[in-house]
Subunit: 202 residues, 2 copies
Amino acid sequence: MAEALTGEAILAATEEVLRRYGPAKATVVDVAKALGVSHGSVYRHFPTKAALREAVTRRWLDAIHEDMESVFDLDLTAAETLRAWLQKLFDRKRRSHVDEPELFATFRVLVSESKNIPEYHVGYLVGQVARIISAGVETQEFVTDDVPTAAQAVWDATEKFHHPAHAQEWGNPHIQDAFDAVVSLVVDGLRYNRIPSAAGDA
Amino acid sequence: MAEALTGEAILAATEEVLRRYGPAKATVVDVAKALGVSHGSVYRHFPTKAALREAVTRRWLDAIHEDMESVFDLDLTAAETLRAWLQKLFDRKRRSHVDEPELFATFRVLVSESKNIPEYHVGYLVGQVARIISAGVETQEFVTDDVPTAAQAVWDATEKFHHPAHAQEWGNPHIQDAFDAVVSLVVDGLRYNRIPSAAGDA
DNA sequence: GGACTGACAGATTTCAATATCTGTCAGTCC
DNA sequence: GGACTGACAGATATTGAAATCTGTCAGTCC
């Protein structure tokens, strides 16, 4: 045996097998075959097939999370940061879906297999939105007395542009216009400064 | 033969068969059996099984459309009307999903079988939103230079609370809080009056 | 002695034969 | 003669036997 079998090597092989066969056909035996070991060996590193799939999925999501951080280096206003952040997330997911639909579908299935994974993913991203809104409150660009709720509301209001259930609509040629309209509405909502006389009378 | 076989009788029988067996198991033969006729007779009134299912689905959606109109009789401000309208739609869909999950799932499948049906349904409802926003612009409660786009944006931003893909989240005990937060954000966004100096400087 | 193997039991999936369904139409019945 | 029937061809769905997969563990090998 040339090298010891590591968890990382198993994860890389598993990702490759998932790419090649898809989530329905990929088996632990396939992974072991790709590594030239018996499938029993894979079970020394991951207790179940589900745990192995979950580990691969977390690795994939972590790459997205890290990539999204780069928006914070751009030195924009809070409104601009929020728009750029949402656009970057949308672009990344849309491109993945349009360019590699099978791979996107594969990870979509993997993410939906556990309740922990979407919670982990959404929790991380809503936390980033909260950071952006918090900065906007600081500069008086945004008004809210409950940043976590506002962050969740922004996330929920933009569901159409990040939730994989809506991926089929991302190929629509006018989807970017719909995205711009929703983001403008949401950003205006965060800006709204609730002066009692601001509405209702001419 | 007691009475002539009518399209309406076939639709009623089809709905009953769909309730009993679900969309996967309901057959044209079942419908004919329920009516005490041969399945060939059903084909004298509807050209295909798909057309029959579509007619049943349209009938069901039309009842929702008509019911939603009642919000316009309430004599509220535009913001209140919009909130009441969205709440009513959400309540109706949520109750249907929570109280009769199988029936909801049945119609969910039926709606997704044709591209025309969701278009018809969404088109009608976004038209109602546009009427509400238009009234709000009239009274200067809302500000927008493009009512149809704003109406579509309101629809898209509230997708989580009416799109059946999110139905599983409607049982969550905090879903009403999430709804309130999104609707507040959206209504504030429509109110935002874009005074250039309103944001950005202390 | 610790990483790895491979045979095994029970669970799951595949596949092909069988049954049912959709849509048609020539013929029946009032 | 027009509404309805029922037998039919091709398409689709069901079923159960056979194959494969998951997870375990006693045994092998360095």
